[in-house]
Amino acid sequence: MPSPRSQRAVIVLLGALGSAVFLYLAARRLDFAAVAATWKTARPLPWVAFAVVCYVAGQLVRGLRLRVLVRRETALPWLTATNIVVIGYASNNVFPARLGELVRAGVLVERTGMPFGEALTITFIERLLDGMAILVVLVGAAAFSLHADTIDQVAKLAAVIFGGALLVVVVGVFVPNVLLGAASRLTAPLGAKWRDRALRITTHIINGGACLRDPRTALAVSLLSLVVWALEASMFVCVLPAFGIALRFPLGALAMSVTNLGILVPSTPGYIGPFHYFCQQTLMTQGIPSTQALAYAVLVHLAFYVPVTAWGAAAILRYGVEVGRTVAAARAARTAPASKTVDGVPVHFIAHVEPAHGAAGPGELMVALAEAFLPPCEPRAAREVAAFMEGQIAALPPSLRTMFHLGMTFFRFAVRVRHVSSFCGMPIERRRAVVDAWAFGRIALLRQLFRPVRSLAVLAYYERPEVVRALAPADSRPRLAVVGGK
């Protein structure tokens, strides 16, 4: 097996080779005098400044997305999350073979204390979301652009790659036990050491993907990903007028998406070569001359490369992170599981598990439902009852919980359509009438939908000591009545 040093040398060489090939492809048959002339007539300002603003905004949204992805694990400040993302991008601009992704995961470990494998999974999920969002942008942009076979092929290849990866993530996220079971069974013949390793990695993947089990989080990060890549497309769009190319969003979006899919191939740090080649080729398919297209690609690459690298370097300096130390921390997180004793029982540590999360406070709907089921009561009592209901509903098995939430979404929608008012915004008497009609009506399915909340509301309310006291005042309460007596 080759040593780590020779492995690194191979990676660097492969990257350099990739870059050289793509640079050659981009520059062959090029009239360099024409390129120079194009540069002379270029008007970079203010367009490059606009592009940088778009790119920086995109990084901020990426930070927000990372914050959402890790919020089950830790409350990461927005700026810190953005800095982590930027450090990853900057490192990719400096290190070969996209090692920036590892650095980014390492910084995430250092900033949050989460296991390396989990951090890497989150990074992977981010990249997967990016891939899917880029595909969406590509398909959208292609619909408004000239047809080109090359772009079709790139889109198909990307769809296969990201679709496959998405399938793995969906399995890990939604059927974790299947993944855990498969890891256990497949590695059982290799012995306890390798099985533990496999289980640890699988647990980290499951933990990392757990955030996507919440439909709201999944939707939020998907939408944020689209915003990120819309901003990145805007960056490409902004640079177009610098070379006298018409300001057309589909053209910039097409260049952005094909270029970003193209730079998945191995290259030198900063994607020099593939970036320019794919950007140039995309523009050429839309009728832009090759010299103008290459000049554009060079300028976009600078706008893409310089600010984020500088920002990343500053962030690294600010956090005092040495890449070597981060890698060491990551390695430490991957050390073999330790044997230990828990209350006298020999156990083998595998991994930290994502902590269980209690239900958040009662939502507006639950409070509104509680008030509708209960007799007039103090707002505090209604809120406490609603909090109990929320906690109990959260404890339902996931499939039933999802059905309940879908049912309640339908209920709110139907109420809004029927009464031209939101259920939660209705006066209490009207709300009661609506709930009575649904929860005690003739349709069994609707009664079943309301049965859990109805039962939980009255249980929680009538278990309250002050309610029981009000029903049976203390002075009228005789001692336990028994028949006979000993």
């Binding site: 939604f174 059927v175 974790p176 036990n177 855990l180 079971g181 069974r185 059982a188 013949p189 306890a192 533990d196 289980l199 647990t203 599981p337 828990v342 209350d343 029982v345 020999p346 156990v347 083998h348 540590f349 595998i350 991994a351 598990v353 902590p355 269980a356 109990f388 906690g391 109990q392 509903i393 404890a395 339902l396 098995p397 996931p398 499939s399 039933l400 929860a439 005690f440 069994a444 009664r447 079943q448 049965r451 109805r454 039962s455 009255v458 249980l459 929680a460 309310y461 009538y462 278990e463 029981v468 029903l471 309460r477 005789p478 336990l480 009545a481 028994v482 028949v483 006979g484 000993k486």
Partner: protein, 491 residues
């Protein structure tokens, strides 16, 4: 033969600390085996018991009591998830397995060495340990009025012995007995098991059995040693007893790829509750639940009394809340009773494929169940009216009250509306049936799982079929028999 745990391995790993797991742990630890018990729930002191229903649901019940059984008629189901399992939250009612049931086990499942005579020493042992006895003093009012009804009807009924000598009528059976009267496993069995050397890890949930060829090598488990800090651990073991209860035992086995007749045959006792309002004060919320059961219609139908608090009363009335909510003011004159039928429907248990490690339960109420529930309601309502009840409120949507005998007996000829039934159960079993018939059973007569060298089941999941009575006694007797057999035969 004593086989203490090695430095790296556990000798006998018992998963679950309920009626089956606790007895297994005690017997094997007493025999010198190195026993480790994994319990998903927490260990509670007596002072923490007896809190309100809401707090108890969070602390002591699996998924806070939210484990419904799905099917054409959804059925509410609860079980314990704490040290001692469901024995901490049940009524403490004690039954020996009826002779007829054991004979049916033998004829249908070829269950060996489980005759009434063979099990008698085990019942004796358990009854002595749990101080099983009759009340021995005056009945609380909710029992007395029920007795009055039984007498008026001329039916056979009996006070059910309980594992709760010295019960102080604190009405906390379902929330953990703070007086220490009820002999749950955490009080009656597990302390002795620990004294005999058993180690107990609480807050430790088994996720998956680790297997190699035909042996279980250990378990993958999650443990919470500090609040909010969970770790995945592996525990290696030479022998594994899965005693995680009727729903979690099959779920764990199936998650681990062990599926042969596992989780295919969920049996339950579907229950329909009713509330009766009497002219006199009952104050059922301040006394132990009714202690008598009607056996006139056994084994198909049993009638008895249920746990009662104002909150539970409201839940029972809530099916017809628009017409019954005004009755809450009379809660001191009310008590809760039930019709329980020996379920004959088909059900199954499956680990949830989607999401976290939850379990999906399904039971299809059979036509026979439906008929028995209708008949049971007719008889229970008749009994309660005969006992002097002014009104009976069944937990059936569309049938808010029964005031006259004529209204009650109609259900002998008619069927209750299926879509209106609010059924519950606290008895589930038979998800890993034992017996020699490999075409029907998951494990042999002594709980050793077929095709596995060192894997056993020893809890309510092993009952071959519905026992028709509270299952704790049957589970403890069979579990002890199996543990002793293992002790004698395992090398």
């Amino acid at each position: 033969m004593s086989t203490p745990a090695s430095a790296e391995r556990v000798d006998v790993l018992v998963i679950g600390s309920g009626a089956g797991g606790a007895v297994t742990a005690l017997e094997l630890a007493s025999a010198g085996r190195g026993v480790c018990v994994l319990e998903e729930g927490a260990r509670h002191q007596l002072a923490q018991y007896g809190a309100g229903s809401l707090e108890a649901m969070e602390r002591l019940y699996r998924r806070r009591g939210m484990t419904p059984i799905t099917g054409p008629v959804p059925i509410g189901y609860v079980e314990g998830a704490c040290l001692g399992g469901s024995t901490e939250i049940n009524s403490g009612f004690w039954h020996r397995t009826p002779r007829e049931v054991l004979l049916r086990y033998e004829s249908q499942f070829e269950l060996q060495d489980a005759s009434p005579e063979a099990l008698a020493p085990h019942f004796d042992w358990a009854e002595k340990r749990l101080h099983v006895s009759l009340r021995g003093r005056a009945w609380p009012k909710s029992t007395a009025v029920f007795s009055r009804g039984i007498e008026a009807m001329g039916w056979s009924g009996q006070e059910v012995p309980r594992a709760a000598s010295g019960c102080q009528d604190s009405n906390t059976c379902a929330t953990g007995c703070p007086k220490g009267a009820k002999q749950g496993m955490s009080r009656a069995i597990l302390p002795d098991a620990e004294r005999a050397g058993a180690r107990i890890l609480t807050g430790c949930r088994a996720r998956m059995l680790l297997t190699s060829k035909r042996r279980v090598t250990g378990v993958l488990a999650e443990i919470e040693r500090e609040p909010g800090v969970r770790e995945m651990i592996r525990i290696d073991a030479d022998h594994v007893f899965v005693c995680a209860g009727p729903t979690e035992t099959p779920a764990l086995l199936r998650r681990s790829g062990i599926k042969y007749h596992v989780g295919e045959t969920l049996r339950i006792h579907p229950m329909l509750k009713v509330v009766a309002r009497f002219p006199e004060r009952i104050d059922a919320h301040e006394s132990v639940l009714p202690l008598i059961q009607v056996k006139e219609f056994w084994p198909e139908v049993s009638l008895g009394g249920g746990f009662f608090t104002p909150g539970h009363l409201a839940m029972m009335l809530s099916d017809n809340w628009l017409t019954t909510r005004g009755e809450m003011a009379s809660f001191r004159n009310m008590a809760a009773y039930y019709v329980a039928v020996r379920g004959t429907g088909d059900g199954h248990v499956r680990p949830s494929r989607v999401g976290d490690a939850t379990t999906h339960l399904r039971y299809d109420l059979s036509e026979e169940d439906h008929i028995n529930l209708s008949h049971g309601l007719a008889r229970l309502a008749t009994l309660l009216l005969a006992a002097g009840a002014e009104e009976v409120f069944p937990t059936v949507y569309g049938i808010p009250t029964i005031r006259k005998e004529l209204d009650a007996v109609r259900w002998l000829d008619e069927r209750l509306p299926r879509t209106g039934l609010s059924l519950t159960t606290v008895h589930a079993f038979s998800t890993c049936p034992i017996g020699e018939r490999q075409d029907r059973c998951a494990a042999d007569s002594f709980g050793k799982v077929f095709r596995w060298e060192n894997l056993h089941v020893n809890d309510a999941s092993m009952l071959p079929d519905s026992p028709g009575v509270n299952p704790q006694g049957t589970v403890m007797a069979l579990a002890r028999r199996n543990a002793l057999r293992f002790k004698d035969t395992a090398s």
